[in-house]
């Protein structure tokens, strides 16, 4: 239990990169990138967790309760939304590629180049 969350984060990262490397479809590759991104959230929140802690939101908890680390949560929170818009940008690029070169296979694209 002491390292399991970290190892899971590492596994998600590796499997996501594996998908990126072996992908034959850019849309699939963008999905794999989204998976890879989620490994960072898991790692960040795992680092910030404290046994017996509760969320650092004091509307329904006493202000002296033991809380988990809010800083990493703030980092992960903004990154998730910004990451989604970046995913959208990548998908827009895929659509452009498709329009210009008629394919979404990265290998076929590099063949086109020469």
């Amino acid at each position: 239990m002491t390292v399991l969350p970290y190892l899971v984060a590492g596994w998600i990262f590796l499997i996501g990169v594996y998908g990126l490397v072996t992908s034959r479809n850019l849309i699939h590759a963008v999905g794999c990138l989204a998976v890879t991104q989620s490994s960072t959230y898991v790692l960040l929140l795992a680092v910030g967790y404290r046994n017996g802690g509760t969320a650092p939101v004091f509307s329904d908890a006493p202000t002296d309760s033991r809380v988990v680390d809010p800083v990493v949560q703030a980092l992960a929170l903004t990154d998730i939304v910004v990451g989604a818009t970046v995913t959208a940008l990548l998908l827009a690029l895929v659509l452009q590629l498709r329009k210009r070169h008629g394919t979404v296979d990265p290998d076929a694209l590099s063949e086109l180049k020469g």
Binding site: T54, A55, V57, S59, D60, A61
Partner: protein
Amino acid sequence: MSTSDGWLAAALVPLLALGPVLWRIAHGPAKDRLVGQNLVSLLAGLALLLAAQGFGRPSYTDVALVVSVLGPTGTLIYARFLDVLPDSRLVKWTALIGVPATVLPLCVATGPGRAMAKLLLVGALLIAGSVVTSARGGDGGTTA
């Protein structure tokens, strides 16, 4: 085992049920995948409600509230794109039995007040969403 542990143990039930559902989503035919997606949001909503009670933080129910709103929306959008909205007795009965079985004890535990109103709202949304997206003859409509 304290009461809060009891609630968390109850949250484990829908959580463990998610495992087989993942298998169906990853390997099943198109119809099963949509049923799976439907079931996932229902089970996740129940697990979140129970966990909120188990952690003693009523404000966590906000997450369940968002699940109950976005879950059926997501299913209907998928149905629109895949042109299929299968009727599923599994989802329907899970909702009709699971949601009251979860929400009513939670209401008893929280007692009357704003928190209880929110619980009932989430429960109603979960039931309505699941029934609409799983009843016989339902259809996401054709794509356009």
